[in-house]
């Protein structure tokens, strides 16, 4: 109907605005060097120039990097989901002395500038002999205050009655956590998963610091290998940008369904 048509129009407009930078980057990456810097800007390449991609793939072992990033990101994601959901559970369903203080301590970890931690952590990883390993890339990020906070907020919106019903049914804390809280918080968990994955995937400085070989390097380092400061044309740089974003974009598309779906509906009367 009319109202829906209007809604689609609004959505389309918003989508266009949001997506514009990415779409334009995509277009530029497919342009020739001259087109990419032309004025007025060329929005649609006259002819698809794949050279930039080809060059990018030759310049750095991007596929290897992507694989590494995927492994590390997956490990971190799973790790964060586990640790953060456990901690968030404690903060939202357990009543224990000092809860708010411990929670603040958790929160405070988000507030520490990364400059403070990166160097001591480098030494820790070095001591552990984890330089140039997947452990070194992932272990420091296996816990997340951000994730804990986010899940706590989500857990707090679960109806209290469910917890009671489950307890009556003979459910201990851990079972309740596994069979009720986690399934009912799928949107939040999905969001955290995507977030954790991308954060890790997009890391630059830490992987650069703790890896030394192309075998262990991750994708953002690859991106920096593709750009050279004084390049006069945009096309190759954008090819790199698009290239490293493809895997995560795919992930988003695949995970979208899980990400946002209301599940607590019809839980209880009122």
């Amino acid at each position: 109907m009319l109202a829906n048509g209007l809604r689609y129009l609004v959505l389309l407009l918003a989508a266009l605005v949001i997506l514009f930078p990415v779409l334009y980057a995509l277009a530029v990456s497919l342009e020739s060097a001259a087109e990419s810097v032309a004025y007025p800007p060329v929005f649609i390449p006259t002819q698809l120039h794949w050279e930039s991609y080809q060059k990018a793939l030759e310049t750095a072992p991007i596929l290897r990097f992507i694989t590494n990033s995927f492994i590390v990101s997956a490990v971190v994601t799973v790790g964060q989901i586990i640790t953060a959901s456990l901690a968030a559970y404690a903060f939202s369903f357990l009543d224990f002395p000092g809860r708010s203080y411990i929670f603040y301590a958790f929160l405070s970890t988000m507030m520490i500038p990364w400059e403070v931690t990166i160097i001591p952590n480098y030494f820790t990883i070095k001591e552990l002999g984890w330089l140039d390993t997947y452990q070194g890339l992932s272990v420091p990020f296996l816990a997340s205050a951000f994730g804990t906070f986010m899940l706590r907020q989500s857990f707090l919106t679960l109806p209290k009655q469910l917890f009671e019903a489950a307890r009556i049914d003979g459910c201990g804390h851990f079972r309740f956590f596994l069979t009720m809280v986690l399934p009912l918080s799928r949107p939040a968990l999905g969001t955290l998963a995507v977030y954790a994955f991308l954060m890790t995937y997009n890391q630059y400085l830490w992987p650069l610091l703790v890896t030394n070989s192309d075998v262990m390097r991750t994708v953002q380092i690859g991106l920096s290998m593709l750009q050279w400061d004084q390049a006069a044309a945009w096309n190759s740089m954008m090819a790199g940008v698009i290239l490293v974003s493809i895997p995560t974009a795919l992930l988003l598309v695949l995970g979208q369904k899980q990400l946002v779906r209301g599940l607590t509906k019809g839980a209880i009367k009122g």
Binding site: L162, A165, A166, I168, D169, K265, G266, A267, I268
Partner: protein, 368 residues
């Protein structure tokens, strides 16, 4: 199967007392019904027995164990929640099966138990749906099913039939009674439905404002209410009261009110002298006498006649202005609104309540 004992239980929500020094022993295998007006503390009592709420004071025993600080899951109870509290992400089958899964019951057996319960409650065809796809009554039945698939020591049920239609309610009520007779499990049952209370309970607890008013069998509660509140609360339409004075002496007393006097053969050791009392009687105790010359009768004017299939309620008003309801089962003699009639007690018990304490001081059996 176990005894449930509440000892000096008090529950406060902030400054609000929900339950006040409650003492109650529910014997093993008993079907105990809690009734009382909305907000009187029924649900709260049930939740304390379940372990969902910690009493502010007092102890709770199940069997011989003091369970006051025990986790619900360690109390071996099952509960039906007033607002269902179904697991929204599980299909009906899984809602029913969940507690058994937790207890590690074999798959095969779970299937059987669930099927039995579902058949019993008429929800067998809904097992594959999510709670949000059910009607109110269907959800309530699932909630009930969730409790009965387990075989706990104690069932706690909070208005488990309130959203069911009459037929289904009668049927489910009968099934629950049968179940109780088979399993002999202790049941604590909250309802606001008198018929349920009367037909199901081996005993009934009447509560008001968090305070227990009377504990007794249905017949006791109905026939010998401990105070005006209980008298008025049980029975529908409720007990009627006429305020007046009691005079005379033992075995030869009179109840005087609004220009008429009724002779009452009161027995027992009570003071009579112009005592302020209320006379309580039930609509079905009364009948009409068209004959105008009868000292025993109360003159009234008929106001409204409600005709429910099979019986009629006649709303009348005494000349003094007090409302009176008469329940007639003989539908041939219904007066019409505006008619002047006389009402007299025909059968059953009349009750005398002290106006100060509201306690019942005497019960008089009437025979027509």
């Amino acid at each position: 199967m176990a005894e449930v004992r509440l000892s000096n239980i008090t529950k406060m929500f902030g400054m609000q007392t929900a339950v006040a020094t409650m003492n109650l022993t529910i014997t093993d295998g008993e079907f105990m019904v809690l009734v009382g007006p909305s907000g009187c503390g029924k649900t709260t009592t049930l939740r304390m027995i379940a372990g969902l709420e910690e009493p502010t004071e007092g102890d709770i025993y199940i069997g011989t164990r003091n369970v006051t600080y025990l986790e619900p899951k360690d109390r071996d109870i099952a509960m039906v929640f007033q607002n269902y509290a179904l697991y929204p992400h599980m299909k009906v089958f899984d809602n029913l099966a969940y507690s058994m899964k937790l207890a590690g019951v074999a798959k095969q057996r779970i299937r059987e138990q669930v099927d039995t319960a579902a058949a019993l409650l008429g929800i067998a065809n809904l097992l594959d749906r999510y709670p949000r796809e059910l009607s109110g009554g269907q959800q309530q039945r699932v909630a009930l099913g969730r409790a009965i698939v387990r075989q706990p020591q104690v069932f706690l049920m909070d208005e488990p039939l309130s959203n069911l239609d009459a037929k289904l309610r009668v049927q489910t009520r009968a099934e629950l009674i049968k179940l109780h007779q088979q399993l002999k499990t202790t049941v604590v049952y909250v309802t606001h439905d008198q018929v349920e209370a009367m037909t199901m309970g081996t005993r009934i607890v009447v509560m008001k404002d968090g305070i227990v008013q009377q504990v007794g069998t249905p017949a006791e509660i109905y026939r010998q209410p401990a105070n005006m509140f209980v008298g008025a609360f049980v029975g529908s339409p409720p007990m009627q009261f006429l305020r007046g004075e009691l005079s005379g002496e033992q075995d030869d007393a009179f109840f005087k009110s609004e220009g008429f006097a009724i002779p009452l053969p009161v027995k027992g050791d009570i003071t009579f002298d112009k005592r302020n009392v209320s006379l309580g009687f039930r609509p079905e105790n009364l009948t009409f006498c068209i004959a105008t010359e009868n000292d025993w009768a109360i003159p009234c004017i008929v106001e409204v006649v409600e005709n429910i299939g099979g019986e009629a309620l006649v709303h009348a008003r005494t000349t003094g202005g007090s409302p009176l309801i008469v329940k007639l089962t003989d539908l041939e003699t219904i007066p019409t609104p505006g008619e002047q009639v006389k009402v007299r007690a025909a059968k059953g018990n009349l009750h005398l309540f002290d106006m100060a304490s509201t306690l019942c001081v005497a019960t008089v059996k009437v025979t027509a």
